[in-house]
């Protein structure tokens, strides 16, 4: 069976081959559709580029403020205790780091553009194929407090994921992916654009509702931190669940079939 990204029936975990229970080690397509895999890795590359370039830009002024304005002569909301790449910034360090803002700004905005286009493609695909509904929205039964707390307690006790979870996302996973896709990414783009003097000249409300341009910058920093936290937990969980198999699934789309028919059955019901 070939993975065809445009075919809704083959979307992610929704499609379990009928012969799944025959041999427990059979490799089958497709845990993740091609479009999910491609957009996942483009986003990964862009996010790393945004992270490196964003860090470099922060290094030129590691001070944060609230409201419209703030500079070296005004009080801060907080500051990062790191050296800066500008010697007028009072950091307490006796040296300055090299200026990297030129390429960092170029790279930051280029990566942002690519991630926006990738996100739009992913969103259209997710809506058309039912990817969000089938693979990311939790079932109603799974959203009860009992089911949720059981699942979260399992995570906290570092229980290994069941085999079924190689074929379907568990509920905290679904909720965190939805949060990243529909809350954190739109927020980080919004707070980023709200720092642009030209963009806000056309859409002043985008910065005014955030409380000012420096507030937008501070929020951009915190949303980015939340995304970094997600990345660390995400990679940690992939490691914990089986780095090789999960990476193989996200790169090639192939995953080992669940061992028994009952496991597969449970998975199907959840979806």
């Amino acid at each position: 069976m070939r993975a065809t990204w445009y075919h809704p029936r083959v979307g992610d975990s929704a499609c379990l081959p009928s012969a799944a229970s025959a041999v427990s080690t059979t490799m089958v397509d497709s845990r993740h559709s091609a479009l999910v895999r491609i957009t996942h890795w483009i986003t990964t590359l862009c996010f790393l580029a945004l992270l490196v370039s964003g860090t470099e830009i922060v290094i030129s002024h590691p001070r944060f403020y609230w409201g419209e304005v703030g500079n070296d002569l005004t009080p801060t909301l907080f500051k990062l205790h790191i050296p800066a790449s500008r010697h007028l910034v009072p950091t307490g360090y006796g040296y300055i780091l090299p200026d990297a803002n030129g390429w960092s700004r170029y790279l930051h905005f280029q990566s942002a553009w690519i991630v926006i286009f990738t996100g739009i493609l992913y969103a259209i695909f997710g809506l058309l194929t039912g990817h969000f509904r089938k693979n990311l929205l939790p079932g109603r039964a799974d959203l009860s407090w009992r089911a949720l707390s059981k699942s979260i307690a399992g995570h906290l006790r570092f229980q290994r994921p069941s085999e079924a979870e190689a074929w379907s996302y568990n509920v905290p996973q679904r909720l965190s992916y939805l949060f990243v896709v529909f809350v954190l990414f739109p927020l980080v783009i919004w707070t980023g654009l709200a720092m642009s003097p030209a963009f806000v000249s056309a859409f002043p409300a985008t910065v005014n509702v955030l409380g000012g341009q420096q507030s937008a910058r501070t929020l951009h920093f915190f949303v980015s931190l939340a995304l970094v936290l997600f990345l660390l937990v995400h990679v940690g969980m992939v490691w914990f669940a089986g780095f090789k198999s999960r990476m193989r699934a996200m790169i090639t789309g192939r995953a080992a079939t669940p061992g028994t028919a009952t496991t597969a059955g449970t998975t199907m019901e959840r979806i």
Partner: protein
């Protein structure tokens, strides 16, 4: 070859051809409507072109936010300037009476203005934010004459596309397109917070462009050239910023 894969091949081919053709048409239109920045080559050209083109389409006539008097920063940060040249010191000693702003290029009447002449034109005062690409900012009240007024005085030729502007500081020069040059908030600024523009903030004359970040707001302005082609200036990248690794367009 199965039927499905042949159909897929044809579809993919058609989509690819349409994509390439679409890109070609888009590039042609973008060039025609002045949406390609001078630093569009190189690995960051794609992002730079998308930023400039989209912001130019969205913001051609939009006004930078203006603030109330109570929002004016009590401590505007002047940033560092190079040590003054001997010529600057001489002009400063004469209270900038001999300071000149010369304008040439694609204009009907090339001219040279003293600060007093510039001050004799109808002035405009606005309270806007200056934000640095590093992240810091302040709000001040700026007084000057709109650049568009001076361009009217010298008579800009219809084929003009950019205004290149130079500081008395060596190798400090920038350029903007006509949308920014003719924008009502683009000011040849000589006053700040009700006083003369301090030397630390670029006095006696600074170009204020509140829709672009600090480094486009060149201090110690001495010369303007109107042109239809940036390739003949410096390394042909548009301004000193791209030569130093920074974007030519700085609306973000």
């Amino acid at each position: 070859m199965s039927k499905i894969s042949r159909r897929k091949l044809i579809t993919t081919g058609l989509v690819a051809t349409a994509g390439v053709a679409g890109l070609g048409v888009a590039a042609g239109l973008a060039e025609k409507y002045g949406l390609i920045p001078p630093d569009h080559r190189g690995i960051y050209g794609l992002g730079e072109t998308l930023t400039y083109a989209s912001q130019r389409l969205l913001t051609r006539h939009s006004l930078a936010r203006e603030f109330s008097r109570s929002q004016i920063s009590k401590r505007p940060f002047p940033n560092e300037v190079e040590p003054p040249t001997d010529e600057f010191k001489r002009l400063q000693a004469g209270r900038f009476a001999d300071w000149r702003l010369s304008v040439n290029g694609m204009v009907a009447r090339p001219a040279s203005f003293s600060i007093d002449q510039i001050k004799s034109y109808p002035s405009h005062t606005q309270i806007t934010m200056l934000q640095c690409e590093e992240g810091w900012s302040y709000i001040a009240e700026w007084t000057g004459v709109p650049l568009s007024h001076v361009l009217d005085v010298v008579g800009v030729l219809p084929q003009a596309r950019y205004v290149v502007y130079f500081s008395i500081e060596p190798d400090t020069w920038e350029s903007i397109d006509m949308a920014d040059a003719l924008h009502p908030q683009t000011l040849l600024t000589y006053g700040m917070n009700g006083d003369e523009l301090p030397v630390g903030h670029g006095g006696p004359l600074r170009l204020r462009l509140p829709r672009q970040v600090g480094y486009k707001n060149v201090k110690f302005l001495t010369h303007l050239t109107v042109t239809d082609n940036l390739k003949t200036f410096g390394k042909g990248l548009g301004s000193a910023a791209p030569e130093g690794g920074y974007a030519w367009y700085a609306g973000i």
